[in-house]
Symmetry: C3
Subunit: 376 residues, 3 copies
């Protein structure tokens, strides 16, 4: 049983509250692989200004500030293979090490050589995305931070990437939030033919590997009688009752990753990252994944995504979420109710985020609760 | 005799200076009655975020923040009669009491019931306007804060309502300001055929009920000789001298209300509220009032307003004021001169604004000066 | 030998660092002479809000705030010769003395007379420009702050004046900066047919009158071999080697003045002022000067400026500089290298800026170094 009425208390969720700009010791997706080529490109993730550039097929990431006068290296170019040259005074850095290889405008024997370097960031490419490790610690294998379903060789992913002007934490909380879909999304086109229920009884369970926590509906109340108000909701005639209409399965994990296993005969999953850019912005990755086993089902998946999912789910449906997330004022008072067990559990998980040593506290048995229930 | 040379002194007009966001224990107009219907509408007055909605013919006002996650209730809707439901998680509040009637997505027996409510605001409708009481104290009758001339059943009011990016206090001071019309408005179309005088000798007198203070011209100097400069002003040939051309009578009262009784055969009055939205914005109500006693004079008033007053007075003439008000820097040094007796008297009146007990200090004899003169 | 590796140290260049809004005891250009006429015009220089107006052929400058309510006098007008009248309440100031001559709306015998005045600023006109002295001290002759080449009667000047959103000091530093032209400007149209060298050995020398410091190239390395990178730069076939291709001579002086004596048979000079408006903005004067001795050379200079210099140099070439200047973050860490001897020398010069007594410390022998070399 989790306490669900909460006024902001600074001593609760201390790590989570201080991570306004993002948890640091993680791999984050930053861009589509195919958009990073030989021309330097700027990005920002979890507060880090980064320049990305591809050399010899491999993406390199450096701090996007020349140590000389802090001009962005991304306005420069790679005039020497394997190096990036600042446009302002020609300081030239090795893409792999970040070491200053030459200060062109001071000649080959410049005394500055060997004295400066820029920070490099570990980079990997998986699933068509570029991933950057923002931590101070030694990076763990990138596969540890990517859901295994996406790493399957038969996974076919479609991406929508947007920058949203809001804090990433409200986005994660909205994503894993138990209750809002039943009111907010009732007016979406995505749910036009669905019978969204009135309320669920829910418990939160951990995955076997302790990475995910999942909302598990214990009982579904399709509609109910509310004293003084009447029955709610009422359904439209075309919202037919279906047998065995299993609900979607919604899970969340660190650092900012949502998974919605869509119910139904044509199974697919939605993966979302609310990757922090800084405390006021996040990069919203909406990734629809399917594992088609034939050319026909692959074609069907392609058509289904481009004619339906991207418009009805990624734009119309998820834009309703974005409107809410943007309206949340900073450090507002909160008054939790029972379905907020989902948010409380997420915050508890985030409290145990990976630290500088690279160890994942959420994986240690003495911290992660196997499940959190909310039935009194 | 009032001291009229003034450098900012924090100890003077303490209450007035601290009321940057508006005096609180008052009724404020917020919107035209006919614009508030069954769909919730957001407004803001004196720093209060408020949702307005009409139910059973009566306008209700609640704090426009759901206590759950602070999402504006005005983005929700009234799916149950007499209640407003937050769009995000279905928290449903009684419009009259602000009590939480249901948390839809947690079922009819949600433990949160009886634990939260939102603030409600007293609302009245008079003169075609919605009025909201922003005070903490018990509201006084709304008629106490509306000029009696507007409450007359034969009053015909025309409204122009605008939001201005400036502090409300500079607007009131400009409205009651003795001197500026004689220079600033000399170029307006409204005064094209009028002989604006050079200067007045003025005293400030209180009304019998101590609500209004009024500028009373003691002597009018149509033009004068200024040493080293010459005669000022000179009039255009078409600015004819008229016999018995009485000046307008300008009065002000709390909280932010101006009355200009227009001189002339076709008598009408301008009422203005500079209703604070917050410290950087005010809602400017420009209300032209006449009391026509026949259908023909009513039609004449209609035509006069729509062909002349709104364009020449409310826009062209008053826009000159707005330009000045917007240019006043915050907490600037001031150097008062004799005509500023009007501003000094207004600040003295504002010092005695209604307090939390609902008592109006300006009505007690020992505080309100019967009149302030400025002739040395 | 100057130390060239530098992390920000608050104790270094104390005066320079504190002059974010501009050095004060100097003459600054503010506008083209022909743009200041009988109608008051607002300007801002080194943090001073100023109203400029021409009377009897002479430009007058006053503080652009009426002491009454701080409304800008520049919104007023000169309804009496030799005076400016505030539009709001008719306070009328003598343009020469700043004394209040009348408060029109309080009559000729207003008690405020003799009690207030506004600050006046010394103004001069030279070289087609209006110059304002912003100092508290007694102004020195304006000719002391204008390069003598511009004061020559045969000087023909062309002006481009722009407002740039950046701090003036980064602009001066960029202007006198030794190294950046060799990388940043390599892509400009201005240098399309020029062989920009790889690097210079440089020393900084003072002029005989100690006003200017000049970059003096000791040795020019047209291209060089950089270990691990190769030869740089390579030239295009149309970038022909020219005999005796002397480099431009670049000098800087206080308060914010650059001189580039352009090499070549058709000699001309570029003068630039990065005149501070406030700490976030400067007014960029780009002045191309020639001294034609015949009508034909005067016509040639006219054609050369309007067909070539303004487009290729003032816009295309200098816009590259502006892009860098705007990208410099405030109080960023710096890491100097050898060519930054130019910037170090400039900061040392700025440390010795004129003070309130009007004395120019840079002119005293014990402060100004005759020259600074950078060869170890």
């Amino acid at each position: 049983m989790t306490e669900v009425t909460e006024r902001p208390r600074p001593e609760r969720w201390r790590n989570y509250r201080s991570a306004a700009g993002g948890l640091q010791e993680y791999w984050y997706p930053v861009a589509l692989s195919r958009t990073i080529r030989g021309k330097p490109r700027h990005t920002k993730v979890a507060g880090h200004e980064i320049v990305l550039v591809r050399h010899d097929g491999k993406v390199q990431a450096l701090s996007d500030r020349c140590p000389h006068r802090q001009v962005p290296l991304s306005t420069g170019s790679c005039i020497f293979p394997g190096h990036i040259t600042c446009i302002y005074h020609g300081w030239t850095f090795d893409l792999k090490t970040g070491q200053l290889s030459a200060a062109l405008t001071d000649g080959p024997r410049s005394p500055i050589l060997g004295q400066v370097k820029v920070r490099t960031y570990p980079v990997e490419e998986r699933c068509g995305l570029v991933w950057v490790w923002t931590g101070e610690g030694k990076p763990i294998p990138v596969e540890e931070d990517i859901p295994s379903e996406m790493l399957r060789p038969d996974a076919k992913c479609f991406y929508l990437i947007r920058e949203i002007d809001a804090n990433w934490r409200y986005a994660v909380e909205n994503g894993f939030d138990e209750a809002h879909a039943k009111t907010l999304h009732r007016s979406s086109l995505w749910t036009l033919f669905k019978r969204l229920p009135a309320w669920h009884e829910t418990e939160i369970v951990s995955s076997a590997d302790r990475k995910w926590i999942t909302r598990k509906p214990l009982a579904v109340h399709e509609s109910d009688d509310y004293p003084g108000l009447g029955r709610w909701p009422t359904f439209k005639p075309w919202q037919l009752k279906r047998k065995n209409a299993a609900p979607n399965t919604v899970s969340v994990r660190l650092p900012c990753t949502l998974r919605v296993a869509q119910a139904g005969s044509f199974g697919w999953s939605e993966f979302e990252w609310y990757a922090p850019i800084d405390k006021d912005k996040y990069r919203y990755f909406q990734i629809a994944v399917n594992w088609p086993q034939s050319w026909t089902s692959r074609a069907a998946w392609f058509i289904r995504y481009w004619t339906y999912i991207i418009w009805f789910h990624h734009y119309d449906f998820n834009n309703q979420d974005i409107r809410m997330i943007k309206q949340m004022p900073d450090s507002h008072p909160e008054h939790f109710f029972r379905p907020d067990v989902s948010i409380v559990s997420w915050r508890q998980l985030a409290e145990k985020a990976r630290d500088f040593s690279g160890s994942d506290q959420a994986n240690s048995d003495n911290h992660a609760p196997a499940h959190v229930t909310l039935q009194a």
